[in-house]
Symmetry: D2
Subunit: 294 residues, 4 copies
Amino acid sequence: MIKNKNILVLGGDSRQTFLAKRLKDKGHDVYCFGFNLFENSELKKVSSLKEIKEKIDVLVLPIISSNDDKTVNAPFYDGEITLSDAISTMKPHSIVVGGNLSKNLRTLFFEHGHFSVDYYIRDELKIKNCIPTAEGALSIAIEEMPCTVAGSKALIIGFGRVGKACAKLFKALESDVSICARNLNAFAWAELYGYKSLEIDKIDNWLSKFDLIVNTVPAKILDKEKLSKINKNTLVIDLASKPGGVDFDNARQLGLKTIWALSLPGKVAPVTSGQIIADTILNILDERGDDPWQ
Amino acid sequence: MIKNKNILVLGGDSRQTFLAKRLKDKGHDVYCFGFNLFENSELKKVSSLKEIKEKIDVLVLPIISSNDDKTVNAPFYDGEITLSDAISTMKPHSIVVGGNLSKNLRTLFFEHGHFSVDYYIRDELKIKNCIPTAEGALSIAIEEMPCTVAGSKALIIGFGRVGKACAKLFKALESDVSICARNLNAFAWAELYGYKSLEIDKIDNWLSKFDLIVNTVPAKILDKEKLSKINKNTLVIDLASKPGGVDFDNARQLGLKTIWALSLPGKVAPVTSGQIIADTILNILDERGDDPWQ
Amino acid sequence: MIKNKNILVLGGDSRQTFLAKRLKDKGHDVYCFGFNLFENSELKKVSSLKEIKEKIDVLVLPIISSNDDKTVNAPFYDGEITLSDAISTMKPHSIVVGGNLSKNLRTLFFEHGHFSVDYYIRDELKIKNCIPTAEGALSIAIEEMPCTVAGSKALIIGFGRVGKACAKLFKALESDVSICARNLNAFAWAELYGYKSLEIDKIDNWLSKFDLIVNTVPAKILDKEKLSKINKNTLVIDLASKPGGVDFDNARQLGLKTIWALSLPGKVAPVTSGQIIADTILNILDERGDDPWQ
Amino acid sequence: MIKNKNILVLGGDSRQTFLAKRLKDKGHDVYCFGFNLFENSELKKVSSLKEIKEKIDVLVLPIISSNDDKTVNAPFYDGEITLSDAISTMKPHSIVVGGNLSKNLRTLFFEHGHFSVDYYIRDELKIKNCIPTAEGALSIAIEEMPCTVAGSKALIIGFGRVGKACAKLFKALESDVSICARNLNAFAWAELYGYKSLEIDKIDNWLSKFDLIVNTVPAKILDKEKLSKINKNTLVIDLASKPGGVDFDNARQLGLKTIWALSLPGKVAPVTSGQIIADTILNILDERGDDPWQ
């Protein structure tokens, strides 16, 4: 495992504290700038980026690295951090890791001789993030359904990462879980894990039977027609990223209780969320070895 | 199963709606008075108790039947319902079921020739109520802990009904669950269900290891000394009824995050909660048979 | 925890090896005599009981301590070990632990000034033994049913220790588990753990629906009449100790596949079985403290 | 769903009975020939293939369709069934489904104008077969390990279909399950399901820690060197198809208890196994629609 790198954690929110702490625990020298650093005196808070000029091996940017391709996204910093200031801290031929890196950003780092990796598109991060996402969905279901999850009938639309994680949790609480998917292999897996299966083409006749419907597919599956078949007492949770999988306007008109729950990991588990990013960064560093341009 | 009784559901809150609905679904004629009756047109809402004078076989009072032994507890009724008005609806030698029936109330019903049963002290109700209680505790843990429940270390103090239900749910979410109890049989059961065990006398050395501590014992176990050993980042949830099991004043001074969560069933699952009461009432009716004084 | 006692493990079968090993691992000096001691050179095998005259603090007898109240049950010893030889190894006022101690045996030890405890009637042992019992029953079900346990319909008769352990395991393998019991509390617990419930009085109409029936009640519940309602393809496993809960003669005549599985812990998990006894003995020693006659 | 086809089930073993029964239950006319047909009088047993000349829409061959590309594999038939006799029962332009169809066989059917599909390479069948495979492995572990599965440490090598199914079952019995795999995504999934992870490159130091090792990878991972690090009391189960993943000769010399368990579905669950094949055939028919050459 790669150790003893000088790492700068720059911008972002409270998750960066936990991320920074984890990187330090794994044997790196971690510098922090541009976010509220609480309860972690052992981290090196730098007062100005100039202090660490050309000292950094790994620059860590937040999940949304930049909103304008010019400054680092630092909502808890009382000022502006330009990307060129950020780059000035880096040793030559170093590595940048950030989330949602735009093509412009990646080009910028490339032109400065740095290798950049978007940790937010890594599968291991996406899989691990499904745990807090599913826990968040479960908590919403417990709070918002008038009955217990135990004994309820739940439909999970989609059997990808998030669908699998949700199915596991709802079944663990003794909900009667059905999976709605398209392909035979998904149904075979669903059976192995003890879920019922529902073909997406035949869903219409069944929608009224569920106490809870969780959508995980980023496509307008719950359109006006399908929504009209859902029981008024049913809770609909949409976990799909934009544009979401529910026609919310029509849902409102129909009086359905619909919750679009986004970015659950950061909300329900900022520590775990920061650690997941840190572990992904450590994986990236291990893969690159000592020479990021290997 | 006993059927076709005239049942009056009187006072209480929204749970009475679901309770009334369940009784009706099981084949009884259900009259409702003194609470907000929503979405259930098929129930017979009476406009005055005089309408049903001496017509009722079973009088159903709310969980807190009365606060003053004179009037029915009816917070959503815009007026006063005296117990003697309530009694006037009953056939001779009938049955009253209510929660938290005081000695005075029981004597009153007895003197009028009615048999009374407190459904709230029935074990099957207490056991079933542990499901919404544990779901509520789980939801609090998901929302209030900065990490996921998955992978966290949880200590459940007490292995009675609520302790067992909580242990099941937290383990189902992949928390590493330890049970704190006093007797060897509890530890043997804990092992069978896959939990770790901790003797209550040896708890002090271990309190700092947990991300979550759930108390279920109605005795001041988490006193000043024990609280001082708990980590600042640990969430403490107290599920014990009054006086609770946590010294909250000291917890506050120590800066511990402590949540005293009471009456979770009614809060997180009013429908289920009402149904549990209804099922308990049905059990009581079945046991009494056609003659309550059998 | 009590330590450094001189313990003699005497007679019995291979389980005594694992029992002796565990006692040694917990800090005692363990002497062994009268059984096949394999793979455990670190245990002190004595060649004659005379070697350890009046040296022993704790005498450990096997699960069936004696068949005749005169000699120790030692099926793997090529000779006879009298109880008086056994007693001669003990220090005055010492302790004997054994299984199935008869009144005669207890009187004998009492008259010699020794305190005796039957570990086999201890609840913590009985609870822990349910794990290997349920695993053994599960293995039989996997091997003997023509279908998978997953997706099968299983009826567990009785919801005591063994019933609870079996229900947990069969449900864990995605069997659809129903509990047959008599009281409402058992049904409430069954619901909490996600099992269905069946009143024992109404069982007759349902017996034909199950792929598997596991009896745990030591009373002839599955009599001729009930057996006649069971499907020919159903597997019946009887875990009840003598006289068992199945009318086996009638079952055979009806062509039902019936397995009476006794003493599963020793068969499927001799190591665990020995350790459970050892842990129970350690509990007994802790309770007695330094003076068994306290 | 396609119905009312004339289906001939030909050759194979007892599983074909359950397969045939399932096809009949789903609305087809099922003819049987060349295997022991027990307990299913409602199936049409034909006495000679000539009876059904050019009558068959779908020919169903066994899992091993043929051993010599000339005759149907029919170990329970007292004679020889040539493939040309089999083909003579089929309507023009019909469909053949069989397991392990050789290139020669497929060419033969093609030349006769029939469409052939190998059901045994279908993913949904392979996934579903993992349930009986994992149950069989679990039963072996219960029987052959001297301790209970509960509390044991199990290593599953490989996290494909069979590895996932085994991990689920062993964890369900409270075994402490570690997954040995190569890629980060497998580890992320393992974490989500509550298993520990072990990189295959670092396995050597850990092999001695396990009570049970289940290999699912069809490559000689457990070679002489790795085997030498395994504890003598550890049970090794190899579920990998030929050539298997264990160097059995060396394992024997080292005195390791090693079980190579093949074809578990047919052994532990012939009914389920037959039904899985039937369901796969029904999927194939649905996909082809009314014209197999669509």
